[in-house]
Each structure stands twice: as C-alpha cells, then as structure tokens.
C-alpha cells in the first residue's frame, strides 16, 4: 500500500509545480538605450522578416563606428513582438516607420523625435492594411503605402497616422491578380512603382492627383526599382519560375528614362540566372544587384559585367543595401531561412569589414545618414 501512496503524492506534486510563464516568452532583458545614445551615431537598422505566420520578425541595431550590434531592439524595448514579416523600414525625422507586412500594420518607433522617451520606443501605428510592402513620403503630411494584395495604394498622413485615401491599381483587364505594388521612387511629381508578383509593369502615379497616369511594360516580375543620378529608372526582373502560368523567361535588367518613360536599354541574363535587388551607391552612379553573387556596374555601361564583384559561393544572398555615405555593401545571407541570418559588411573595394548575425531572414538595411 505504501508505494501506491507515494505515487499519488508524486502526481499531486507534478500537477502543482506545473506553470507556464507566458511573459517569459518575450525577452526579459529590457533595453535601456536613450535617444542621446543613438542620435549622433552613424547606425544601421536591419529588418528581419522572420518566418511567415510565425510572428518572429525583429529589428537589429548596428553602430557603424563602434560595431555594436543589438538584435531584437523592438521587443527588448517594448516587451512585445513586432509582428509577422517586417518588409521594410523608413527612417525620417527621428522616427522609424516599420512595415509589418503580414500583420497589416505600420509601427512607428522613436529614433530621436521624442527625446524624453527611450530609443526604439513604440510611439504609434497605422493599422487596417491588407498586405503592406513599402512606404514613400510625398511630404510631411502625405505618404504612400504599396500593397501586395489590396489592389490599391494606401495614402496616410504621417503626422496623424490616419489613412487619408486610396489609389486604385486594380487591373480588371488581366486574368491575373494585378497590380501588386512594391518599391517606389519619385521623379518630379511622379511616383514610379514596380509590380512584381504575376506582373510586368511599372506604374506611374501623379502624386498631386493621387491617380495612376501611365504604365511601363518591362520583363516578367520586376523585383526592385531605383532612380540614378541621370534620372534613369533601373529595375531587375526575376523572370518568374519554370511552369508558371504567367510565363517564364530569363531575368533582365531594364534602364528607363524617367522623363520620357521610354525603355533605353535591356540587359538579358542567361536562363537559370536569378536577378533581384537592384541598388545604387551613394553617388547614384554605380549599380549593384544580386545574381547568385553580387554584381556591380556603372550606370553608363553598355554591357553586363563578365563576372560577379562578390562571389556567391557558399552563401545565399537574399538582400542587398549600399550605404549612401561610404558606399559600404551590406550583403544579406538568409542561410536556411529558419535560423538567424548574416549581414556581411564589405567595403566598396570588396574588403570584408564586419559580419553580423542578426535575426531570422534579414531583408534590408537602412541607414541613419
């Protein structure tokens, strides 16, 4: 009889000691960075997308001078997760606007505008978005948010964080789901945006009237968009995928005059190549993009370079950003996408400077200056 009583006691013990601490799931080491700690520093914010439907996105802070790296600054400061899939960040007037794609929101955090609050402190949000991707500021009281699924661009007022209007980009004439708007650049009063998923267009929006006024046909699935110092638009397509009902072709790089909206040159890649992430250096005269490795060319080159500037061997480049001040390259390796990724900081001469292990699926780096 004795041993049975002991067993019963064990059960009671086990049951009572069980307790789950849901608070502990967030990072308990609260961050204490004040605004003065960062305001005069040269820093980089890295957006880590996290896994789709995991809600494990994060923001990393990297000090360019001291090489200090702090991961997960948003949740360490605010003791809450940032959300599901951080797509992009815009730094403007002492605030960072963080687009949380699959949470349908934009979080605004303090990067100096509120000196009495800590750095990275949450200060506001725009909610009720469908699948937001990128933000482009027209002026202090008007900004655009592109969207993958909304078939419209949302206009919001950054001063009040209220949504103030929509620009319809619904392409009813296509049998595919269009238009999915992505990155934006502005020439004069016109905002250009590339339409990536199952699309082949750059849309032209009049930012005074908030309507689509024109479109430019490019190759299949333009992934990214920049405007160089000569007012030429550059976009790189990924060409879709094999077996896609929308079509499949080799990737290509497009040069378009922003004023006339005429295609000036198309650079074709080989089949099996992968084009993405066209970027410019600080002077906006050198072009960078990913095609397995990282490639560089002048905006006036007539041909694609013969070999990669940085080899992609043993790496899986997912993102690319160029520091506008010193033209350092921030090349992003997402590894297997289910572990914290790496950011390689490389000088414009191709010399490695630093390697940072950041969050899951690092997507882009944005610069304080």
């Amino acid at each position: 009889m004795k041993h049975q009583n002991i067993v019963l006691l064990i059960i009671v013990f086990l049951s009572c000691c069980s307790c789950m601490d849901d608070e502990a799931y967030m990072n308990e080491q609260k961050l204490n960075k004040t605004v003065s700690d960062i305001i005069n520093e040269d820093y980089v914010l890295i957006s880590n997308e996290g896994n789709f439907m995991y809600g494990n996105a994060s923001i990393s802070y990297y000090n360019k001078t001291t090489h200090e790296l702090i991961n997960d600054v948003f949740s360490k400061q605010n003791i809450m997760p940032i959300g599901d899939v951080v797509q992009s960040i815009v730094l403007r007037d002492g605030l960072a606007y963080i687009v949380v794609n699959n949470s349908g929101k934009i979080f605004v955090i303090n990067m100096g505008k509120f000196p009495h609050l800590p750095a990275f402190a949450y200060v506001g949000k725009v909610t009720g978005l469908v699948s937001p991707r990128y933000i482009h500021f027209i002026n202090n009281s008007k900004a655009y948010i592109t969207d993958l699924y909304a078939k419209s661009i949302t206009i919001f007022n950054p001063e009040t964080l209220d949504k103030t209007g929509f620009i319809s980009v619904d392409n009813k004439s296509s049998e595919f789901y269009q238009h999915p708007t992505e990155q934006m650049v502005q020439y004069d009063k016109y905002v250009f945006t590339n339409c990536w998923s199952y699309d082949n267009k750059l849309l032209v929006i009049d930012s005074e009237k908030d309507i689509v006024v024109d479109s430019i046909n490019v190759g299949l699935q333009p992934t990214s968009l920049v405007l160089d110092k000569n007012n030429k638009l550059w976009t790189i397509t990924d060409g879709g995928y094999k077996g896609s009902p929308y079509g499949f072709e080799a990737p290509s790089l497009w040069k378009i005059d922003a004023k006339s909206r005429k295609v000036e040159q198309v650079f074709h890649f080989k089949e099996g190549d992968r084009g993405s992430e066209v970027k410019l250096n600080g002077a906006k005269d050198s072009l960078y993009f990913i095609n397995k490795g990282i490639w560089r060319m002048s905006i006036t080159d007539e041909n694609l370079p013969s070999k990669a500037f940085i080899s992609g061997e043993n790496k899986l480049f997912y993102g690319l950003n160029i520091d506008p001040v010193d033209s350092d390259i921030y090349a992003i390796d997402a590894i297997d996408y289910v572990q914290p990724g790496l950011v390689y900081r490389i000088s414009s001469q191709g010399k490695p400077i630093d390697t940072m292990r950041v969050g899951i699926i690092p997507g882009e780096a944005v610069f304080s200056h």
Partner: protein, 720 residues
C-alpha cells in the same frame, strides 16, 4: 475428427470467447474467467465442437491482452500471435471512452509518447512520432492508409475518437508489416463488430465553454449472422475565447512611453464538423465473413489570425471589418470492405478500399475605402484526392511453431489540385504495389524470432527492399520479463506536393531512407491487489535525404533532400492498476520519452549553424500521466501532459541569444469526474464534468497563437 493440439487451442479459445462475452454483460474479474475455463474443460466434445465454430467468429473481438493469458494456460510450444520483438501499444479502452467526445489528437498527446503539434483549439494537429516529421507517421483505418498522398500527413484533429473502436500504435519497425515509409511509426485504427444480439443505442451529448456543442450517437443491431453499427456526430463551436493580448499595443502614453494592452476575443476560430460511419458485417457461411464500412465527414474551419495581426479595418460606424478571413473545408469519404475466409490452418483476408478527399481553402482580404468596402480573394485552392486500394493477405501456421503471412497490396492515388487566383496546380497519378512476407518462429519456449520483407513498387519501378528482423526473449516463471530487439530499413517516398507542387515542386527528389535499431524490455508483475506493467525502449535512427521545404530568393518555397537526421530516443511506460480498499479502484499510467532528433546535414551556406542541432518543434523531453480513480459509481480522471522547450529555429536559438524564439516548456492538467447510474433500469447513464486547463494557464504552444484559459465541458452519456 480434430487433431489434439488444435483441439486444445480451440477449446481454450472457446472458453475465452464465452468469457469475453460475459465480461461485456457483467463486469466479472479475471479470477472468474479462470474458474470459467476450468469448468468447461470437463464439458463434452460435442458441445465443444459447436462452440468452437462460434468462436471462430468471435475471434476478431478477443482483446490481445486476454490472448496472452491463452499462452499461459497452454503449456505447449505454439508460435505467438503477437509479433515478437517489436513494440506495440494499445490505447486503453478507458482512455478512448473518456475522450470519445474529442479528436484523436488529444488521445495521442495525453496518452502516448507521440508529440502533437497543434495550432490551437479545433485547429490542425500533426504528429511527430519518435522525433520524425508528420509524414513519417502513417495512419491506417481498417488496414487502409489514410495519409494524404498530396501532403503526406494526417490532421489528427479531424479524426473523431467516437468513431474508433481500437487504436493501436506500432513503433518504428513494427509498422513495416502494414505500411511503408512510417519512419516514426504508425497509428492503426479499427472498427469491430459488436455481436450482442438485438438493438442497442449509445448517445453522448456535450456542452462546453465558447458555445461548443457536440452530439454523438451510435446505433447497433446484431443477429446471429448480421451486425450493423451506425455512428454519427455533430460538433460546433464559436471558439471565441478571451485572451489578454500582450502582443499588440492598445494605446501608448507619449509622455511616459507606457504601452497598454487589452483583452480580446479570439476571432475567426469557429468550426463545424459532422460525419457518419456505417459498418456492416455479415457471416456468409461458417467460414466466411464479409464487412463493409463507410466513413463520411465534413469539416468547416476558419484559421484564426496571429495575435500580432492588426489588419482588421473599421467601417464608418466604427464596426470591425475582419481582414484576412480564411476558411478551410475538408470533406472526405472513406470506404473499406473486406472478406475473410478461414481455411483449416490459415485464413485469407481481402480488402478493398476507396478514399475521396476534398480540401478547399480560401483567403479573402477586406478593406474599408471610404464609402465602399472592398473584398478580394487572394487564395482560392481546391484539391481532389482519390485513392483506390486493394489488398490480400494470407495468414497461417506451418506446424505449430511457425507462423507466416503473405500479402500483396495495390494502391492508386489521383491528385487534382488547383489554385484559381494564381492559376497554378497539378494533376498527377501514382500507383504503388507492395509485396510483404512475414515469418515468425518459436525457437524455444522463450525465444521467438521474426522477419518482415516488403518490396514496394512505385509506378512499376522497384524501390529498395524494406526489411525488419526482430528477436524476442522471455524469461521468468510466468514469462514476466520480455526482451526484444530489432533493426529495420525503411524508405519514405516524397509526397506528390513535394514532387509537383506549383511553384517549387521538385520531381527529382529522392526518397527518405531510414535505418533503425531498437531494443525493448518489458516487465509485468501482479500482486494480490495490483497489476504492474513496465516497459522501456531505446532506439537509434539514421535518416538520409530528409526532405525540407525552404523559401528561395524568388518568393516561393522549394523542397530539398537536405538533411541527414539522427534520432536517439528512450521511451518509458508504466501502468499500474489495482484496488486500494474494497471499493476503490485505481489505474495509473504514464509515458516518458526522450527524443534527440539531430540534424547532421551539411549546412546550406557558410554561416549555417543548424548542424548538430535538435530539429525545430520537437521536444527533447515529453511525458504524460493519467490517473483514474473509481469509487463505487463515482470516478475521476486526471491527466497531466508535459513537453520541454521546443525550438522554432534550426539553429536552436533561445530568446536570450539571437533574435530567435523558443517555446517554453508546456505543462497541462485536465480533469474530469462523474457519476454512473441506472436510469429506469434500462439505461446506463453517466454524467461527467471536464475541466480543461485546470490551472487556468495563460499560454501558447505555437508562436503567436493564444490558447484558451480554463474551460469546461458537461457531458451526458446514455447507453440503452
């Protein structure tokens, strides 16, 4: 007329059959059974012969545990019915009846070492058996594999426990006789005829928190030759539990920076499920029985948003417009028919089966654009899956000491899946054949050995041979010690989605190739007032070409044969039942599993830190404990489940390290208690109250998916 050994064998079987029958009518204990056996040994041959024939047909319903006793009585070297040296687990009928209003996912997670990953109450639940992936657990219903050929896995939240009479687990090598590719093991569910004459009716009604209502019914009719069972259920829930959402800011004070949070109701988590199961059994002759079973089911579920989601909009009156509304519709029809013929020393079983599954999923996005509300369908996918199956198995003995089984299986899968927004999809067929040979030999009273050979063919091409070799040694006066060992090579084909999904499917994927060693020890002891069953196993698996899906730089996912996974595990199981005082009976059973499931694949890139790390979502330690106490007509059940931390990254990051997240250890207690009584002398009634999440834990078991706090269910069980 009858050979002597055969006579003894049947004589015992007859006695057992009668006693089994009586046990069902009146709860008599084992001592009575033995008295019964003793009594009937002196009965005349004539009578015995008559009952022997009857017993042939009761054979299917004799529980295994009683068959073991059979070996105890007959002191003769007869090959065991149970496959030696392999590990099986039969889920207690008490457990099945206690959880008959829930899905099989809860039965497994609360009573077996299988880890169930569930996305929330009523949501999808997938299994990890011995540290493997969901597609490495094969699920059989009446001998027919029901894993989706498209996805490879089974959603256990869609299997109503009410529909299953028997649930058995075959660990690792033990699965090979009935299915290929179960690198972890298999779960076998069967339906059995109930030959009690006349009509009987069983109903179970339940009402629970969050407007959850379930109704279950079972109608049984049997005569001498024919038996029919009709079962049906209907379950509906709003599932709108409240939770304090720490994951989104309700407001912020810009003077102090203080962020406040709010309690919110879970949205879009409602579900509705219903289904029926019809079973027909008919004895064609003294030596032939046919059966037919059809299981039809419908499930309509929404998958709730993550707790961080703030995409919901408001209309001009401030009313909420839910965004990202999705819905998953699962409809399935499964048919299984079989014919069993008894020869003198063998029997032949022929099965035919058909499965039709429809899986529809859509995702709608909605937004308020001033005057008008806009709604767009972003994903609209439909999948139709048909599986045809035929199987013949001959089982018999070669003399007394050798048993064999020879079988051939054929199955054809047809998958037709399309997504109308992106206009992707595929239509593919796959035919599989397998030939299986099983032999078991009793070398001495204590040593038995068996082998299983399975030769699969896929689309007429031969796969490598799958094989098992197992050895068992029993010791002790009453054979209370059991030692078993086995090794196996198994082989799992990629799913049709792995091969053909658009975009990403890779037709060049190689099958997953596994090799496993296993050792088991069992010990059974019975005292005056108790029975104790202890068993422990250790195993090591090496799985090559493990398939994982990874996103690529073009915005979609692709499967790769990337990993080599080595699983080392230890399982411990204990079962104690007995009497404390005259009227107090208790049962205590527990499982503990240690699972080290390590990735040994070379990394994808230079910075890869996943080598040597535990696979995501697989806990290293897991255990559960069930205590059942019955006092006269009152009873109480307490269940405790524990999982250690689960990583969500391949590099096993903890929250303190990189920006990775881990899931903290899981402890869950559920309790139920009730009372049994006779209603108007005709109806056996049971009223029961169940409390889930007894200690009102605020928890999640998947990132950003809140779980319900303490909740209640009231149940009424009536047997006519």
């Amino acid at each position: 007329m009858l050979l002597l050994p055969n006579f003894i064998y049947r004589c015992v079987k007859w006695s057992l059959a009668i006693s089994t029958f009586l046990i069902r009518l009146v709860p008599i204990n084992y001592i009575n059974v033995f008295i019964f056996i003793g009594m009937h040994k002196i009965l005349k041959i004539k009578l015995i012969f008559l009952f022997t024939i009857c017993s042939l047909f009761v054979k299917a319903s004799i529980p295994d545990s009683i068959l073991l006793k059979e070996v105890k009585i007959v002191e003769k070297l007869i090959v065991k019915k149970k496959r030696a040296g392999l590990k099986f687990q039969k889920i207690d009928t008490l457990v099945l009846s206690n959880l008959s209003h829930r899905s099989l996912s809860e039965v497994l997670s609360e009573n077996t070492p299988i880890f169930i990953k569930t996305y929330g109450r009523g949501s999808m639940a997938t299994a990890s058996f011995r540290g493997t992936a969901p597609s490495h657990t094969k699920v059989l219903w009446n001998n027919m594999e029901i894993n989706s050929p498209m996805l490879g896995m089974v959603d256990f939240s869609l299997i109503p426990t009410w529909f299953m009479d028997d649930v058995n687990l075959s660990y690792g090598a033990a699965s090979v006789k009935k299915s290929a590719g179960a690198l972890g093991g298999s779960v076998e569910m069967t339906n059995k005829a109930d030959w009690r004459k006349g009509f009987s009716l069983h109903t179970l009604s339940s009402a629970g928190s969050y407007k959850t209502y379930d109704q279950f019914i079972s109608l049984n009719y049997s005569n001498r030759k024919f038996s029919s069972k009709t079962k049906a259920f209907y379950s509906v829930s709003d599932n709108d539990f409240k939770f304090f959402n720490k994951d989104i800011p309700a407001s912020v004070d810009l003077k102090t920076g203080e962020i406040s949070h709010e309690t919110q109701k879970q949205k879009n988590a409602d579900y509705k499920k219903y289904g029926f199961l019809q079973e027909l059994y008919y004895k064609l002759s003294l030596k032939d029985m046919v059966s037919f079973k059809i299981w039809n089911q419908y499930s309509d579920r929404s998958l709730p948003q993550l707790s961080t989601n703030e995409s919901n909009d408001k209309d001009s009156d401030g009313k909420l417009i839910l965004n990202n509304i999705n819905n998953q519709l699962d409809r399935s029809t499964r048919i299984s028919s079989s014919w069993k013929h008894y020869f003198n020393k063998s029997n032949l079983k022929v099965d035919f089966g058909y499965i039709n599954t429809n899986l529809d999923y859509y995702l709608d996005v909605k937004q308020n654009r001033g005057e008008k509300k806009v709604s767009n369908r972003v994903i609209d996918s439909e999948s139709k899956i048909d599986t045809y199956m035929a199987k013949a198995e001959l089982t018999g003995n070669i003399k007394e000491r050798t048993r064999y089984s020879l079988s051939g299986e054929f199955s054809a899968n047809r998958v037709d899946t399309k997504e109308s927004v992106k206009k992707t999809g595929y239509k593919e067929n796959r035919n599989k054949e397998s030939f299986v040979l099983f032999m078991q030999h009793q070398w001495t009273r204590n040593i038995s050995q068996n082998i299983t050979l399975r030769q699969p063919f896929v689309d007429e091409k031969a796969d490598p041979l799958i094989y098992v070799s197992a050895l068992e040694y029993t010791a002790g006066e009453k054979k209370q010690f059991k030692l078993g060992a086995n090794f196996t090579r198994n082989y799992n084909r990629p799913t049709l989605n792995d091969l053909y999904f658009q975009p990403g499917g890779n037709p060049d994927l190689k099958p997953e190739d596994g090799f496993t060693y296993e050792g088991n020890i069992g010990y059974t002891v019975s005292g005056k007032n108790y029975d104790l069953d202890l068993s422990t196993s250790a195993y090591k698996s090496d799985i090559d070409n493990w398939i994982i899906w990874l996103p690529n730089d073009r915005g979609f996912w692709e499967p790769f044969n990337l990993k080599n996974v080595k699983v080392t595990g230890l399982e411990f199981k204990a079962k104690l039942k007995g009497k404390l005082f005259n009227d107090l009976q208790y049962r205590l059973s527990g499982n503990y599993a240690y699972t080290k499931s390590i990735n040994h694949g070379d990394g994808v890139t230079l910075g890869d830190q996943s080598k040597g790390k535990q696979l995501p979502f697989i806990p290293k330690h897991s255990s559960n404990l069930l205590l059942n106490i019955e006092y006269k007509d009152w009873f109480i059940n307490h269940n405790f489940t524990y999982y250690s931390e689960r990583f969500t990254t391949s590099s096993n990051d903890r929250k303190k390290e990189q920006a990775g997240r881990d899931l903290y250890p899981y402890y869950m207690n559920n309790i139920s208690f009730g009372h049994r009584f006779l209603l108007k002398k005709k109806c056996l009634a049971e009223i029961k109250f169940r409390i889930d999440n007894l200690f009102d834990e605020d928890y999640r078991s998947i990132l950003q998916r809140p779980m319900p706090r303490q909740n209640y269910t009231l149940l009424l069980d009536l047997k006519f």
